[in-house]
Amino acid sequence: MATRASLSPVDIHDLELQQFLEEVHSFEFWFEAVEGYLSGLTWGHRPDTPEAVLDELERDRLITVLCNYCVGETAALEGASGLISIAPNRLSKVFLATQVADEGRHLEVFLHRLRDLGVKDPEAEVERRASPSLVLFKRRLLELVAGKDWEAAIFAQNVILEALEFAVFHSHGQTADPITREVLAGVVKDERRHIGFGENEIGRRLASAPHIRARIGQVKKELDHLVLDTLADTIKQIGMPRDEQERLGRAYLESVERLGFV
């Protein structure tokens, strides 16, 4: 992709709040961001990146991990798309539309990676290998979306789920085979944007309506154990040491603590 014309020479952080949101939640901003790191990639990686030789156990573990990434990304895709109809304003709707495309892309690249690894029917494999706690998380998230509870749903989706994915993908990327590593690197860049939106949105709402804190705290309490169970399952499959699991658990908890939830 060639570089597109710059939107504005003004430093984005110098803008007043509404103008800042107009910029950072726009399709144009998303477009500028992704063209920087998706340019030249096919299915999330450079076409000439070599396929590593994996033994049967490594391949099987990677397949299980990728299947669960697909569950998480499907939850994120369905969650983000459902949130568009209850988003309180146009800018949030447009941002969520960019997130929907991101989540769709993540699902697509993970499914493609499964095919690369020789999985004939990735969708059936995902169903077979899905972690029960992640499936429960997905169900609960979609209930919050269907219940049109904007604050709770955006918290579950863009803070909890995205923080979990960010922590796991980032960590897995350190030790993954070259193709998976490149795929994860692009996904992590997207997740950073999604978490930013979630924290910003929830942070502003908590500041203006502190009474919602108790309700969101309840959602966090309900989802925490599902997140930590999922984390433990995934770490085991990736083959990471136990102290890494603890570190990731802490990283996840810190990300929600930033909003004042302990």
Binding site: R4, L38, I84, V100, E108
Partner: protein, 290 residues
């Protein structure tokens, strides 16, 4: 089915949009392109331009709500992923047409008031018929309503507007050309994906046909409101502004009266509906003419 759907993947979308027809555009047009001075300074033309742009925003907001709402109802992953790209396309359309309103001088804090004031009530009803299906998670009716009826209408309206603006307003024509390319892809998905689902669910036909008839009526009523009460045409006559030839479907739009243009647009869209619905096994229902 999976082979056909691979053409609608996000990978394909990335290759055709950001690396294709959207390259070097900002809010859908080239940097430095502006609205013509006359549209900004003539009070009648200015108001009519805002009014017509509001209808585009209303239509695209409906398309955004529908395509995102259909993701959860889609029966397979590939359709979900295509609808994810469509959701993004529709959000882009909302954004670029909203930006056109800003370019026309609408203040950001007045945006919703302006949209409420100028939104055509028949277009709103058209949207409501579709969104009711989406709310019920009725995937087949929703995709027919969205990707064949709504997108089919948008495709022809944008093409006609493009023909009218190509010479006199390159900025807006440029904006429209990107949306036309998107709509073509959306209509293609609707036709290709839904055909097999209709075959598997023939019991859905009567309901879909009723929806098409109802949406078509509100569409024609919107056209009637737009062309029959259009002050812009009278203003151009008063100014004796000579319009350059604008050819569309073999007709010169610049030489046509508003009611003739309405007839041409309505006939073109309905003919397209008939052809496309026939391809997916739905019998076209002639709507009441307003």
């Amino acid at each position: 089915m999976s082979d056909f759907l691979s053409a609608y993947s996000i990978q394909s979308w990335l290759e055709s949009c950001p690396q294709g027809y959207l390259e070097n555009t900002v809010y859908g047009h080239a940097t430095g392109e502006n609205e013509p001075e006359l549209l900004l300074t003539n009070a009648v033309l200015h108001e009519e331009t805002i009014r017509s742009t509001v209808q585009l925003v209303v239509g695209e907001r409906c398309a955004l709500a529908a395509s995102s709402g259909l993701i959860n109802a889609a029966p397979d992953e590939a359709s979900k992923r295509f609808l994810a790209t469509q959701t993004l396309d529709e959000a882009r359309h909302v954004e670029i047409f909203t930006h056109r309103l800003y370019d026309l001088g609408v203040k950001k804090n007045h945006l919703e008031d302006v949209i409420q004031r100028y939104a055509n009530r028949n277009l709103v009803k058209f949207a409501e018929v579709l969104l009711e299906k989406v709310d019920k998670k009725d995937f087949i009716s929703g995709v027919v309503g969205q990707n064949i009826v709504l997108e089919g209408m948008a495709f022809s309206v944008f093409e006609m507007m493009y023909a009218m603006n190509q010479t006199v307003n390159p900025k807006f024509a440029h904006t429209l050309s990107g949306t036309i390319a998107d709509e073509r892809r959306h209509v293609g998905f609707g036709e290709n994906r839904i055909g097999s689902l209709i075959k598997d669910h023939p019991e859905k036909r009567p309901e879909i046909e009723r929806m098409q008839k109802e949406m078509s009526y509100y569409m024609l009523a919107t056209f009637a409101d737009a062309f029959r009460n259009n002050a812009a045409a009278a203003e151009f006559d008063r100014l004796q502004e000579e319009q350059p030839r604008a050819e569309w479907h073999g007709a010169d739009l610049s030489a046509m009266k508003p009611e003739e243009m309405e007839g041409l647009l309505a006939d073109t869209v309905l003919k397209e509906f008939k052809t496309r619905l026939g391809r997916i096994g739905i019998e076209y229902q002639t709507p009441v003419r307003p």
